[in-house]
């Protein structure tokens, strides 16, 4: 019986140790830098901020924060994507060995012209004669796009088979007023919360500007139907037209994308005319299929 009591005491002591091995989280649950918003409520015309960035671009973290502030300031109106391009995105050495670049991001930059990073496009509309804008102009350019009338609304559903990594994306385009044959629908995949090194010049010496656990958000992974997307119609699109588009995409084997961090962005743009992005929408998360 003595042995029995000793055993129970020993186990109770071990149990006590384990009981300390838990963290109870109470509100607030969200970290202050969080940028997730509900993207489904508004029928307003939304704004697409496409950011050119690179993991060795020391001024880019500040620009990324500004972009996130826009999302917080204009809830449900701003959609972000980050294209890692230029030599600042090249994998270099051991610290910056990860390759964020995509052929699609590079192709977009080639079309619009390389600009000093950080740079961005607001709805692909020229502001003060420039399409690709430096960070100081983002605020004013973005405000110039606010309160525009939406030509169409987009509704997005994205499913992913968790076993096969096959995506099924449904996009409904509902025209509120007439459109043209230049209207193209493009679907991009982005990923959030990728923890990889990033240079941040806001960190002053003697501390290293290399932030090893920087959280990269809105990182472009691929364009499902090409960077320009698909033409919606070969002729005039009457008001009240509805297009139900469906895309299937298999995440290629060997990719390190984490499906719970993927989001889909869909947008309609005026290709070969004004090039303006007329509407954009994003999913908050993918629906898992088992």
């Amino acid at each position: 019986m003595k042995n029995y009591i000793k055993s129970i005491l020993l186990i109770s002591a071990v149990l006590g140790l384990f009981l300390t091995a838990c963290d109870n989280i109470e509100a607030p649950y969200k970290k202050p830098s969080d940028n997730q918003i509900d993207t489904t409520k508004s029928n307003a015309r939304k704004i697409f901020l496409e950011e050119f960035t690179g993991h060795r671009c020391g001024n880019c973290p500040e620009a990324a924060e500004l972009a996130h502030e826009f999302k917080a300031k204009y809830p449900n109106l701003v959609v972000l994507a980050a294209y890692h391009t230029s030599s600042l995105a090249n994998p270099v050495g051991k610290v910056y060995s990860y390759d964020f670049r995509t052929p699609e991001g590079n192709a977009i930059e080639q079309i619009v012209g390389e600009a000093a990073h950080p740079a961005g496009m607001i709805n692909r509309v020229k502001f003060e004669g420039q399409l690709v804008l430096g960070k100081p102009k983002w605020q004013a350019a973005l405000e110039s796009q606010l309160n525009k009338t939406a030509i169409m609304t987009l509704k997005l559903n994205a499913y992913i088979n968790v076993y096969t990594n096959e995506l099924e994306i449904e996009v409904d385009v509902n025209y509120l007023s007439a459109g043209t044959a230049n209207h193209y629908l493009a679907v991009y995949i982005v990923e959030d919360s990728i923890v990889k090194p990033q240079t941040d010049y806001r960190i002053q010496p003697p501390a290293s500007p290399d932030v090893l656990d920087y959280v990269h958000n809105n990182v472009l992974r691929t364009a499902v139907n090409g960077i320009h997307g698909d033409q919606l119609s070969t002729g005039i699109i009457p008001a009240n037209s509805v297009f139900n588009k469906k895309y299937n995409y298999s995440i290629p084997a060997g990719k390190d994308w984490r499906i719970h961090q993927l989001r889909i962005i869909a947008f309609v743009h005026d290709k070969d005319a004004s090039n303006e992005i007329l509407q954009v929408e994003e999913t908050n998360k993918l629906i898992f299929m088992y």
Partner: protein, 558 residues
Amino acid sequence: MYKFTIIFLCLISVISPCMLEAQDILGGKLSGNFQLDAQYYQKDTLIGAGDVSEKMLSNGFLNINYTAGNFSAGLRYEEYLNPLLGIDTRYRGTGIGYRFASFNSEIIEVTVGNFYEQFGSGMIFRAYEDRALGFDNSVDGLRFKLHPIKGVDITGLIGNQRNFWDKGKGIVRGGSMTLNLNSLIEDFFPNDYQFLLEGSIMSRYQADNQSTFYFPENVFAESARLNISGSEFSFETEYAEKNNDPSAPNKYNFNKGRGLLANLSYFPEGLGITLNFHTIDNMDFRSDRDAVGNILNLNFIPPLTKQHIFRLATLYPYATHLVGEIGIQAEVIYTMPKEWFGDKYGANISANFSQVNSINKTTKEKDPVSGQIYTYNSEMFNFGDVLYFRDMNVEFTKKWSPEFKSILSYINLTYNKDVLENEGSGKYGMVKASIVAGEFTYQINRKNAIRAELQHIWSKQDSVLHVPNTSNGNWAFFLLEYTIAPNWFISAFDEYNYGNEYDDYKIHYLSASATYIHGTTRIAFGYGRQRGGILCVGGVCRPVPASNGFLLTISSSF
């Protein structure tokens, strides 16, 4: 190249029985087993079977175990070149997927390397493997088992879980203590009854290195189990709790997890009655909060539904919905007396009912902008509004003569396809199906037997969407198997989706196979179409794509 591979595989199959014999080495014993599954794929656009670039895919493994006195060690070499369709492609490659060394003495057993383990009924921890599913969540680390006194067993472990050829990010550590009260306190309990108490704890550490939420880095779970058994009954109950564990499967909510299960069996002579109940709220527990699918699962709660063996009933299998469900199952098995039939065989009849529903949840805290639910209240002991699954079935087994026996079965299923396969997103609707199945075996003589199966399913789904697919409507199934004991089994079957809503998909899935068994070696060769669907083994499921082609399986042990 693939022709060469097939010839090579055939050669292995011929020589393997000679190679694989038990061996005594250095005073110890060497044992093991081997299996190879290879499939040669053909494109078949009608059933949705795409082109396979490699033409042939295969999974294989060889387990080798060595035991000498108190010491044992083993390893498993695995080959996935490339993985069979339906097996996760992240297994691609070859290597040692499992290795361990262990010693045991009278009071302690220590294992280092990979190991499988289960605490209680698995509500907070179960590490196991199922090669048919491509599932392996073994722990790589250290485990000890203590037997300090008679009636007390203590297990402790720490490690990382296997994640294909890598390891999960989380560190898992836990322990369990089992008290056999009859042994521990002799003469206190009646000898006719066995009393078992078990307490288990499990904890996971995973760093919080993302920017969205304040994630708990340490998540703790505990459970308590009581088992009482006698000569004609057994009762088992287990309650488990898990701390806040926001994860991808639970949509990053911060609620605690809870679960309760109870099983009662009464089995006097000629009768068996079983009642099962469980209620689960937010009990998906993994060693990586971001994992989804059959990856890095720490726990396992078996489904409260009958695991049907008739093939058409497997069109709609059920797997436990760990994020929340409440279910009940009742089964009665009765051996009908011989006098009722006026023969010397009697018969068995079984009736089974199971139903699983949602549990109702009301939001407590949520994000005002995104609508993300952080915490909620749940009615854990009330059947919720949404029906997930219902199964009513009856089975009659009768031997009619020394040569002839039969099994007749009726199954009625309701299957919420949207919830079970699609996170509740309205896409397929509710499936209502009735199945009639019969199995008839005729023993021609001592060595030869013939077996036939006839099955039919009437199936409807009430979805407003009607997307062409290869599995809806009525099916018929016919199987014929000829056995030449003890070596040969030859079978052929046809599944025909004659009631598919779309004429193009009214497809015959014809298949045939021959199996040769010699000692511990089994060689099977088949050809045919395999329908796509969900394959479940013991309540764990994975989707299997449709395929067409040759199949070769070789297995042996020594």
